[in-house]
Symmetry: C2
Subunit: 446 residues, 2 copies
């Protein structure tokens, strides 16, 4: 404690005066946060300068056997937040309405807030960030994106003097587990989803994960930070993985790729030199040599490309009680230090106010699988369907013969609108018997 006493000597704050913490929610993450607060109290005190004291834990139902002293539990979250001896509120309830109300009332009372709530931040970032600014209160949310992986802080702080051009991430463990398993076993989506549920990697209602809502919320947060622009979940183009087939994975493997659900945040510079941003979530082919291709199972990874820094990658456990609690605790220590020493963490930065480019305007590459009649002129006809819509073809491969004849077309970068029009036109061609797979291709140069 020499260190903290030494600090105390030139601070205005009394280091014996503890910093009060309220934890809202006692699920996987809340339980770990409470455990660390209790087990590591001495270390935390030394790192903050003053003791962190847990004032209470808001739960839906007070019951014995929650592994914490019963007197800490309360069902009255609002009263806990309002207590005079609570300086910092840790919100790990999940959901929208209740945490929104509690966070706003904490911030309006000048208390610091640490939250892991990506859905709330992606929908109400403006309201919450403004409440933090207005009250000069700290709002930290490292745990909201990619669990233990530090990516919020690097984007907000380490890259604060650089220009971020692209953020591409695997930010949802459930879908990555399913796609990794499909690639490995060759099984179908439905079968793999069931297996993922059985193993605890997918929730009873997996919609938020498999339809990309969770990834879209994280993409909105990442894009807001990367581009100094307020981006909400509604701004994110979103497709889930429920339509990905075993054939898609087989196709991917055949062309040296794999399929990943990507969260993509890109700066798109228009021909007139003006910047817009494109934020989207969808399953896409990426080459096996891409750094994200080897991120398997429930792991997360995020690639950030910035003008001066070049390409950075962050990798680790994107979910789970302990990893998420690690991120919460880092934020909590920083918020507590600010309470103790004075000062504030960086607030929202939205000055750039870049417009969102619609998905149709977004340049992507496509990989299209067609079953075709095996006769002369088919390739020329297919090529014309692309050319007519201004889509340049990178490679065409003919496979099989007779009934099994196929064309595999990979395009250069074109707008998503031109590409989807092309695919619609192909389906109408009399010698195209089926468009069996259409996948975007990301992570390549052209």
């Amino acid at each position: 404690m020499t260190q903290s006493n030494e600090k105390k000597s030139h601070r205005d704050v009394n280091s014996d005066q503890p910093i009060g913490v309220a934890v809202l929610g006692l699920g996987n993450v809340g339980t770990e946060v409470v455990r660390i607060l209790r087990d590591n109290a001495d270390d935390l005190q030394a790192r903050v300068g003053a003791p962190l004291v847990l004032r209470g834990i808001a739960v839906r139902k007070v019951g014995a056997d929650r592994g914490v002293p019963e007197e800490l539990l309360t069902t009255d979250a609002a009263a806990l937040v309002a207590r005079d001896d609570v300086d910092i509120v840790v919100e790990v309830i999940g959901g929208i309405d209740l945490p929104r109300e509690l966070i706003l009332s904490a911030l309006n009372a000048g208390k610091s807030v640490v939250t892991a709530n990506k859905a709330l931040l992606a929908d109400y970032t403006g309201e919450i960030a403004e409440a933090a600014e207005r009250n000069r209160a700290d709002l930290y949310f490292e745990a909201a994106v990619a669990g233990a992986i530090p990516v919020v802080r690097p984007l907000m702080q380490s890259l604060a003097g650089d220009r971020v051009d692209r953020v591409v991430g695997i930010v949802n463990g459930t879908t990555n587990f399913i796609l990794s398993a499909m690639a490995e076993t060759g099984a179908d989506y439905e079968v793999t989803l069931k297996e993922a549920s059985r193993l605890g990697y997918a929730e009873a209602d997996p919609t938020a994960d498999v339809e990309g809502y969770d990834a879209a919320a994280k993409a909105a947060i990442l894009a807001s930070l990367a581009f100094h622009t307020r981006v909400t979940a509604a701004d994110v183009y979103r497709e889930g993985i429920s339509k990905v087939t075993a054939e898609d994975l087989a196709t991917a493997e055949a062309v040296g790729c794999t399929v990943k659900l990507l969260a993509l945040c890109e700066r798109v510079t228009d021909s007139d030199g003006k910047d817009r941003i494109s934020v989207r979530v969808y399953p896409a082919l990426i080459p096996l040599e891409h750094p994200l291709a080897t991120v398997n199972g429930a792991f997360n990874a995020i690639v950030v490309e910035a003008k001066a820094a070049g390409r950075l990658m962050f990798y680790g456990q994107g979910a789970g009680g302990a990893p998420t609690a690690s991120a919460v605790m880092g934020d909590l220590v920083m918020a507590a230090r600010n309470k103790f020493f004075g000062g504030r963490g960086p607030g929202e930065s939205t000055y750039a106010k870049l417009p969102i480019a619609p998905i149709g305007d977004t340049p992507t590459r496509y990989h299209v699988n067609l079953h075709v009649a095996d006769r002369a002129g088919v390739l020329a006809g297919v090529a014309t369907a692309f050319a007519d819509r201004g889509v340049s073809i990178s490679t065409v491969r003919q496979e099989g013969a007779g009934e099994g004849a196929r064309l595999v077309v990979v395009t250069h970068r074109a707008t998503d609108a031109a590409l989807s029009e092309t695919v619609a036109a192909l389906a109408q061609l009399e010698y195209v018997t089926a468009v069996t797979s259409v996948l975007r291709l990301e992570g390549t140069e052209e």
Copy 2:
């Protein structure tokens, strides 16, 4: 500028009052810092809240054609640092004595310091950090370790509530380039070093890189942050790569490994439950499936293992003007925000004061290649040499016959002292004709 005006309205500081910056040094990094300060002035102002104004650049020789207005240049670095209108000093000169003096005088005048100087920090961290504390001044040094890769901030802040057990990194681009090239071409160290020099990946005097001094300085900084303990370069056990042979690389390949110069910072818990830390730099075998094995060329990567977070990896460009400048600029924006809004970045944390374990006490695994006489009893004799020193063998492989007979021994984890005694004893055995390669093995579980 709406954002900054809005902020101004509830701050005490006048946002029209610029924040003065002095840049010391105009090498690769300094040149990029100055370029970004000039090219991105509007963005930087919006992010800080006030304009950043470059007051001057200290250089050894003022001359035309440095790409910056000549009136900004000065050879009097001390006078530049002392100017009343300089709030933040960016030190990118390199070296020890001059930057030390300049940084101390800046901190003693209450100015914020951003530095990329790993050698200085690893030798004088105590003196400099204490000056920062005493004067309540900011000291930022993200650029000192692994260039653009955010690792200082994640260790200091994101993991502030967790317990870090291990940091393993490839933190020197020159040696990684050489080892990658040796693995790829099969060429010898000397030949590859020459090629690296020719390509600009090694300096005219490559000692600091190839003998591991640069990596050791970074290891000291990483260990200090990870373990809340002051660690200097002198505490780091250090071996360079100049003795790594083409045969070592071939051996590595044959056993599914590669050779990397690793910076290792580990918490070692003794049998009595007390923690010590081991900080070391040496070339070691790592399995090809280890995340660091695929980090090639001039790239850097750092793996951090923490109790709650699990294993995290950070990857990117570890050197070069622009990537290092990205890290400097992030620190500069944070330091400037603190000047503008009040508050301070986190200071040094050394409360844990863990003792340094000597290399002899450090548990490692060895991979030993022996040329032996081809006769009965040799394997038993060699095995006895290990067993007598308490070193448990994991695998032994016999290769070749007659003149070319070899034994390849891989040990379990044992103290480095016991292992080196064993190797010394092996060399004395009459039927061991040569100990051709002794390499530590890292990144495995046992």
